[in-house]
Structures are given as structure tokens and as C-alpha cells.
Symmetry: C2
Subunit: 176 residues, 2 copies
């Protein structure tokens, strides 16, 4: 018998694009990241860095270069790849793909843990990565790959529409 | 107060590299994929296809071109990007990055749901993608991006070592 809390959490997660003004605690964000780093990491390289941004000025600057961030979140988590580490241990494949893949799996854990804690999130891929890198004074080899906005949702959001399984699942053979 | 089942599941997940001969039910795999497709998808494009491989002959062929698959899993889930769909709706960025990111977030849901159901998994990135594509008769625009081996673990696996938070988390500013 599956336990239901996991599935409930997976099904309850929404992409939140409107936040209240209530701040989020830094300690709570750290808890979310603790869940994030339990995601699998290819060859256990863990080429991830997490920048928690809740300083209003920095937040404002980043948001102005991030068309994908909506609804004034009180916090942005910027998930970065450590290209030096990824390349050293995983070569070109490591720095071009594997680091990003690890980060995305960690991101999903973080968004689920946030949902579980009553926090809303939205994964954001649309931002000026090189400008964000400069705003945060990141070294050359630390690349912002994905952001997660985090805060308290200001309204209920309907479940996203999903293509039915019949359209996306195949059993041993492809059928056009 | 966070509910603990989610965190327990996140912390209990291991990368399994040795499986028993016990088969997995196709219906159970479908349940896992149902959790997978609840992951966020950029612009809700859902450029994912899931090929469930449990036919012993096909499995054997794929495994012989997949150095990352270990321990004779009774099932491989091949997560593919639909490059045509991703490109049509997300352009170059969509097909080169966003599809992969969606797939990885879905993969983490699938691995957590499997853990919750007593199944072991391992995310595998090391395989000959273009050969797997041909073995499965996939059209040109369907690219295998990631595999998940699925089965019953034949032994307990220790928790992976993780870099401490102090090493990977930064608060508003980068500190070398």
C-alpha cells in the first residue's frame, strides 16, 4: 500500500505566480535545500550551489532581468552549476548536461518540500543568466541555471492540465 | 509543522545498482509516471515521452549500450524529449534545455514515488542515446535523455555522502 502523503504533495504542488508580502524564514529555506541535496547526483559530483536571495534590493535587481519571475516573491533561490567542478569530474558532458540534470532533480525536491511546508514556489528558466551572475558577484565558473521563487501563495491555483498517459507512455515499442 | 512522510521518502531514496529477479508490474510503473507528469513543465509544453521497457530481449539490447545501467533491473524507463514539440513551442532554448529540465524534474517525482512503493531506482545518464533511439524504433525527433532503472533492490544501500550546506549555500552574496 503506498503511503498517500507523498502523492498528495506531488499532486498539490502548483506553480505560484502571485505571492503575499509575508517573508520567508532563511532557516526554512535551508531546510528545503537539505531536501534538495538528497536528490541523486551523477558520480556524486554535487556540482550545485544555491544562492538564497531575500535582500529586497538584490531581489529587485534580479527580478528586473528575469521575465519569468512573477508575483513579487519575497525570496528567490538561484540554483547554479559549478562548471569547474562539473568539468573536472565529468568532462564536457558533465559541465554541459549532468550538472543541469542534478540541479533540476534537486529543484523538484525543494519544490515538494516547500509544498509540504505550506510554501508556494515556481521554477523559473527565463532570466538573463550572465547578468544575474554579475549581480550576485558569482565567479566565472558559477552559472545560474534555474531559479525558484518562494513565498506564500496569495491564492489557490488550479491543477495544470496534463496530457493523458496514453499520449506520453509507450510499452516496449513506439507507436505513432 | 512539516509532515514527515515526504522528507522520509526524500531521504530514503537510494541509487540502486543491484536488483532481485522479481519483476515489476506495468500498472505500477504507470502509477509512477502519473506522479512524474505532475512535475512542472515550462510553458506547460510537456515535451516528454516515457518508454517502459520490460521485454527481456529489448532490455538486454539496451543494457549492452548503456554502461550506466547496473545490477540487472527488470525494467528500464527511458525518458525522452519530443524535440519537435519542444522546438515548436519553446524554440532552440526549449529543445536544447527546457525539455531536459522538465524531464529531470519528472524523473525525481518518479524516483520518489518508486521509493514510496518499495521499489528501487537509479537515474542513468551514461548510455548510447542514438543507438537506444534505434533499438526502440523512436522517430528522429524523440531523443532518449535519461533512463531510470526500476526493480526490487537486492540489498540495503548506505546514504550517499553529501557536501555540507555551508559549502553549497550562500545568502545574498557569494563568498569564496
Amino acid at each position: 500500500m503506498p503511503s498517500h502523503p507523498l502523492l498528495e504533495c506531488i499532486n498539490k504542488r502548483r506553480s505560484i505566480r502571485k505571492y503575499t508580502e509575508e517573508p520567508v524564514e532563511y532557516a526554512d529555506i535551508l531546510m528545503l535545500i537539505e531536501s534538495g541535496i538528497m536528490a541523486p547526483s551523477g558520480s556524486n559530483i554535487q556540482p550545485w550551489k544555491f544562492i538564497v536571495v531575500d535582500d529586497p534590493q538584490i531581489l529587485k535587481m534580479i527580478i528586473s532581468f528575469s521575465p519569468g519571475v512573477n508575483g513579487n516573491p519575497p525570496c528567490l533561490l538561484v540554483l547554479c552549476s559549478d562548471q569547474e567542478l562539473a568539468n573536472k569530474k565529468g568532462g564536457k558532458l558533465g559541465s554541459e548536461y549532468l550538472a543541469l540534470m542534478d540541479i533540476c532533480m534537486a529543484a523538484e525536491n525543494i519544490m515538494l518540500a516547500a509544498t509540504d511546508n505550506g510554501l508556494g514556489t515556481c521554477a523559473v528558466k527565463s532570466f538573463e543568466s550572465s547578468i544575474v551572475q554579475r549581480i550576485l558577484n558569482l565567479p566565472e565558473h558559477i552559472h545560474p541555471e534555474l531559479m525558484i521563487s518562494i513565498g506564500h501563495s496569495s491564492k489557490d491555483v488550479a491543477a495544470p492540465r496534463r496530457r493523458p498517459l496514453e499520449e506520453v507512455v509507450f510499452h516496449n515499442v513506439w507507436k505513432a
